[in-house]
């Protein structure tokens, strides 16, 4: 019951917020209470591992089955805590352009409801339904609340591109799910995972895996299906960028683990060389693009492509270590990317653009509260040990050097070397940004300084910096959480 309420709270609050008359000031209270209540509930649900399992659509045998487990708990907590952060951030900023604040908050909470449903769902079709819920509010965020310094056509392009890619992905995924459910005779993810693809001919497994990976790979995004991401990130408001990076992309990787790796392991194993190569191309490609990218938000988006490449590489290894690395890297990217988007989004709000070529005041002395989180964020982005990303990336390479039996070892080792090259490229772009923005390469001391971070916005950023350090020093916190369920998921694969 509590699990159902957990999903319903943000959903009902979102409907309230969207229906609210624009002049009322109640949106603040509704959004705050709903997001905090959701966060509290999520903690309870995760701690006690509450679940709900009732028949939903009897004719189709679809159950309303929501339950957290070790693989999803970290993502659930990331989602609810970041939503609180986004709500605080939005409430303590200037009113949004392009619509009312209550609409924006409503969309944020609607995305939260969809994401929670996705992470909790234990039924493939329920998963799909929840997965689709986030699309429209996300589109609204980009289309209506997008960067108003750009023309309407640019916003339309970014939003349209987002919808085109993700709907295409969803369609492929739906076909894959239907294929799978038809063959296995059940849509229960537990049953599907326990069957681990037995009874399906290899060709069918391969087809299902290809459909699921292609569909979910658009969301991750896996190279070369990533071109929607930079546009969407650049145009989306801070709230939208953070949601995209920390929640939507995670739904892709989570879906791959939950839907593809668990249910059609042989198909995924056959495709793992492709996955590994695409992942590593993403690492190098995204990193190189960052080296010359001028728009800071676009740069962070490309760095996301690179980071998700490590996750994909880890998944391609097929081993327990690899799965752990992928799950950890997923969360790490969520924390780091949201930290960066909060900081960069605020900077863009004040600068009016995020163009690195414009001479501005160096942040180091004039705005240290912006500067330090920025340095932390980019240090994490380059995989500095002691900060969260290092473990995801190092363990991904470690795992890929020693993949599960039957995977192409030589190819994966070449991928590891290229992935390590990607680490050097990451250092190049991260330090490039810090050198320009923080240390003041090409800066103009006479330009007007930015107002330093204050109040709730600062608290949000500080909390994220804290998370980066805590998880970077104690990666066990997350690894222990997912260890048993990752092992369970692979036990099925091994048999």
């Amino acid at each position: 019951m509590a699990v159902t309420i957990l999903v319903l709270v943000p959903l009902v609050a979102a409907i309230l917020l969207l229906a609210m008359p624009p002049v009322s000031g109640a949106d603040r209270a509704v959004a705050l209470v709903a997001s905090v209540a959701t966060a509290g509930l999520a903690v309870v649900v995760s701690a006690l591992r509450l679940e709900v399992d009732v028949m939903w659509i009897r004719a189709l045998g679809i159950r309303w089955h929501l339950a957290p487990d070790g693989i999803s708990i970290a993502l659930i907590l990331l989602t609810v805590l970041l939503t609180v952060g986004i709500v605080l951030h939005t409430l303590h900023g200037p009113p949004p352009e392009g619509g009312t604040r209550s609409t924006l908050l409503g969309c944020v909470l609607l995305v939260e409801a969809g994401a929670l449903g996705t992470f909790l769902a234990r039924d493939a079709l329920l998963f799909f339904v929840a997965f689709e819920v986030v699309l429209v509010p996300m589109w609204v965020l980009i289309r209506r609340f997008g960067d108003h310094h750009r023309t309407d056509a640019v916003r339309a392009d970014a939003a349209g591109r987002f919808i085109f890619f993700t709907v295409l992905g969803s369609t492929l995924m739906l076909v894959g799910i239907l294929f799978l459910v038809y063959h296995q005779g059940s849509s229960d993810l537990g049953v599907l995972a326990a069957a681990h693809g037995s009874g399906m001919p290899h060709g069918v497994q391969l087809a299902v895996a290809a459909l699921l990976l292609a569909g979910l790979g658009i969301k991750v995004p896996i190279w070369p299906l990533h071109t929607w991401l930079p546009a969407a990130h650049t145009i989306a408001p801070t709230a939208g960028s953070v949601l995209l990076a920390a929640v939507l992309l995670k739904m892709g990787t989570y879906g791959i683990v939950r839907l593809a790796v668990a249910t059609v392991p042989d198909g995924v194993a056959t495709l793992s060389p492709v996955l590994a190569v695409l992942g590593v191309v993403g690492i190098v490609w995204g990193g190189l693009a960052c080296l010359v990218e001028r728009d800071l938000k676009r740069l962070v988006a490309y760095s996301s492509v690179a980071h998700m490449g490590f996750v994909v590489l880890a998944l391609a290894s097929g081993s327990h270590t690899g799965l752990q690395a992928a799950l950890f890297g997923n969360i790490a990217h969520g924390v780091v990317a949201s930290l960066l988007f909060f900081v960069v989004g605020d900077l863009k709000e004040q600068w009016g653009s995020a163009d690195l070529a414009v001479a501005r005041v160096a942040l180091r002395d004039t705005a240290p509260r912006f500067g330090l989180p920025l340095v932390f964020g980019f240090a994490a982005a380059l995989g500095l040990p002691g900060l969260v990303s290092f473990w995801g990336e190092f363990l991904a390479l470690y795992a890929a050097w020693f993949p599960a039996p039957g995977r192409p070892v030589a190819l994966l080792r070449v991928c590891v070397v290229l992935g390590a090259v990607g680490l050097a490229i990451a250092a190049g772009y991260a330090v490039r940004v810090i050198r320009i923005v923080w240390a003041g390469e090409g800066s103009d001391p006479a330009a007007s300084p930015v107002r330093d971070l204050r109040g709730a916005r600062r608290a949000v950023v500080v909390a994220l910096v804290g998370a980066t350090v805590v998880l970077g020093v104690g990666p066990q916190l997350l690894l222990h959480l997912s260890n048993a369920d990752a092992a369970g998921l692979l036990e099925a694969v091994r048999r």
Partner: protein
């Protein structure tokens, strides 16, 4: 007792974090930084005196990874105890010195925190019994070096040097990561002892070991990764001392030493190491001779000396163990830190880090004069200073290696070592003659360091103009980039290192000193600060003289063969005499005999920087290609899709003119008929 081992890493790490996040005021930052350094030194001393002899000290629990394990243990043995203590001690002197050196710098808290973090990284690496923790310490040092070299981020040269240092070492780290992963996967564990005892599979082992050699070549500055180090002199002098003396640059030899039992049985990897080290040691020593800037000279000498440590590990017989290499690490830590801190002191007096303006200033104080003399003599390897013993132990080990049948790699190292001894003595003599024989500056009261310092305390306003990124020379001249700007600049403009030889020593005119509020009642702040500086230099000088005693605790670190010792002493004396003659008994700079183009090329590092820049441009060109492909090739499909959809829509719109035509009515009627027929017939 295991807590001591953990605290040795934890204390500086926490001090670094606290300094970075909390300390806003200078006194608090000073207390945190120096206090933590003292505590670390004491803990490291305990650890050294009573090593636990174990490699199973838990840090924060093993990583649950399934197939591959990562226990993340720390170790404590004689070697880690000694190196840890030396690192902690050198860091303590540097922290104390920094309080004086950056006394006017508004960013002191950040700097001191950076030094603490840097020390934490090194101490973690020293005590790590796990390859992941080694990598963690390794990377943390790289990052801190970026932060500290770029401390004066107003200056473009400092920003560039920091970027260069970080990128060059990070590129070498590609090999480091791959190498460590290879070695770990062989043992299915990152645990050091599992890695060391894993038998078999030599192909992968060689690959891993060679990768690690290239990995350490980055931070240790082996050719072709060497050129970041001279440029890193843009950082304030304390950080130069830190990087060179006991941490980042020396860390590579420690990593190799920890893996020595694997290297000992692997000829291929050791040959690679021997060749790289031999080239670097001669090349860097030769370049050091021609440098016109003291800090750059010391940087090249570090490259050369670190290569000596590595050559010992490459050439010594397996039975000799790591003693010779690690002994030289310890000796070098003392005398190089001494030279840097003394050099920084000189630079503050002379207002520049270039050699020519410093001429004669070494006579300013007793501690300074003796400190620099001891430092240079130890670097040259004059008996009975520590440098003599450690260097000759290395030579002896290499000769033994050659006798032991190591063949090519040992002989390469032996030849390179003797050549380096000669060159090192030459550049040390040259530098000393320049520093000691210049015209005695008129202003000098010459009765002790404290006096000099009181006169020399700069005005507080300097800091502000400096932080605003404005050239702060009195006449507003734009200051040339090239070397670090010492904190106490007194005369117009800083000479470019390449022009320095033509520039006469700048006349000194000091700002009037500012009366500082008395600190703790009876000592003025200035005096206390100067005392800290002098004590640091004196402590390091003592270390350079007595360091040999410390090494008695490390087996194999002192083992001087009499023949090689005699030969090297003769080489040193010959080189010193030759330089003395060439320098006309100190009346001119011995490097002036070099042809001007050669000299200029050597000062510029023989074009290595140009090569690096060309590499960088190639990467950027590739990146531009990637962006082009991303925007105009990959993205063409969605755009084509959108365009096609729109075109189809328009075409459909055009055909539907919103007038029901006869044909349409016919079609509809037909459909109805078919439907009715279908329904009725079906039944």
């Amino acid at each position: 007792m295991t807590w001591v081992v953990r605290l040795v890493v934890l204390v500086p790490a926490l001090a670094g974090l606290a300094g970075l996040l909390l300390a806003r005021s200078r006194p608090a930052a000073q207390r945190i930084a120096v206090g933590a350094a003292v505590a670390t030194t004491v803990l490291a001393l305990i650890q050294w005196v009573a090593p636990l002899g174990t490699g199973d000290i838990d840090t924060f629990g093993a990583l649950p990874l399934g197939d591959l394990s990562a226990p993340l243990h720390l170790l404590s043995d004689e070697l880690s105890g000694l190196i840890g203590f030396v690192v902690a001690f050198v860091v303590l002197t540097i922290q104390a010195y920094t309080v004086w050196y950056l006394r006017e710098d508004a960013r002191y808290p950040q700097f001191a925190a950076g030094v603490s973090l840097f020390a934490a990284g090194m101490l973690l690496l020293v005590q790590s019994a796990d390859l992941v923790l080694t990598l963690v310490g390794w990377e943390i040092m790289g990052w801190c070096s970026w932060l500290l070299i770029g401390h004066d981020s107003e200056r473009a040269a400092a920003r560039r040097a920091a970027y260069k240092a970080f990128m060059v070492t990070r590129i070498a780290d590609i090999a480091m990561v791959v190498g460590l992963i290879t070695l770990s996967v062989r043992a299915r564990s990152t645990d050091l002892f599992a890695v060391l005892t894993e038998p078999g599979r030599t192909g992968l082992l060689t690959f891993g070991l060679v990768c690690v050699v290239f990995g350490i070549a980055g931070k240790s500055g082996l050719v072709p990764f060497h050129d970041w180090l001279p440029d890193a002199m843009e950082g304030p002098t304390p950080v130069s001392a830190l990087i060179h003396a006991a941490t980042m640059v020396a860390a590579g030899s420690y990593v190799i030493a920890r893996l020595f039992s694997l290297y000992a049985g692997n000829d291929a990897a050791r040959t690679v190491l021997a060749v790289l080290a031999a080239i670097t040691m001669v090349y860097a020593a030769a370049l050091a001779f021609a440098q016109s800037d003291l800090k750059r000279l010391l940087a090249y000498s570090t490259l050369s000396q670190v290569a000596i440590m590595l050559s010992a590990l490459a050439a010594a017989p397996a039975a000799f163990g790591v003693g010779p290499g690690m002994g030289h690490l310890v000796g070098h830590a003392f005398f190089k830190a001494l030279l840097f801190l003394g050099g920084g002191w000189l630079a503050v007096i002379a207002g520049s880090t270039a050699l020519a303006p410093m001429a004669g200033h070494v006579r300013s104080g007793v501690v300074l004069r003796w400190g620099m003399a001891i430092g240079f003599a130890a670097l040259a390897g004059v008996p009975p200073l520590v440098g003599f013993f450690t260097k000759d132990t290395v030579i002896d080990a290499a000769l033994e290696g050659a006798a032991d049948g190591a063949g090519f790699r040992a002989w390469v190292v032996v030849v390179a070592l003797f050549a380096t001894v000669l060159l090192t003595a030459a550049y040390c003599t040259r530098a000393w003659l320049v520093l000691a024989n210049g015209p005695q500056p008129a202003r000098r009261p010459a009765n002790g360091a404290l006096e000099v310092e009181r006169v020399g305390a700069p005005a507080g306003s300097v800091t502000n103009s400096r932080l605003a990124g404005v050239a702060w020379s009195p006449d507003g001249a734009v200051v040339a980039a090239g070397t670090e700007r010492p904190p106490e600049q007194t005369s117009a403009g800083e000479p470019d290192p390449e022009l320095v030889d033509e520039t006469p020593p700048a006349p000194s005119e000091h700002r009037p000193s500012v009366q500082v509020a008395p600190w703790r009642g009876w000592w003025s702040d200035t005096e206390l600060l100067a005392l800290l500086r002098t004590a640091s230099v004196a402590a390091l000088a003592a270390g350079s003289v007595l360091g040999t005693l410390l090494l008695l605790t490390l087996p194999g670190s002192i083992h001087v063969g009499w023949l090689s010792a005699v030969v090297s002493v003769l080489l040193i004396a010959g080189a010193a005499w030759a330089v003395w003659v060439v320098a006309r008994r100190g009346q001119r700079d011995a490097a002036d005999v070099l042809p001007q183009p050669v000299r200029a090329a050597a000062v510029a590092g023989l074009g290595a920087d140009t090569a690096y820049a060309a590499f960088g441009r190639a990467v950027v060109a590739t990146a531009r290609l990637v962006v082009f492909l991303d925007r105009d090739v990959l993205d063409a499909y969605p755009r084509a899709f959108a365009a096609t959809t729109r075109a189809v829509g328009r075409a459909g719109q055009r055909t539907h003119r919103a007038v029901p035509s006869l044909g349409l009515i016919g079609v509809v009627a037909g459909v109805v008929v078919v439907a009715v027929l279908g329904v009725t017939v079906w039944r």
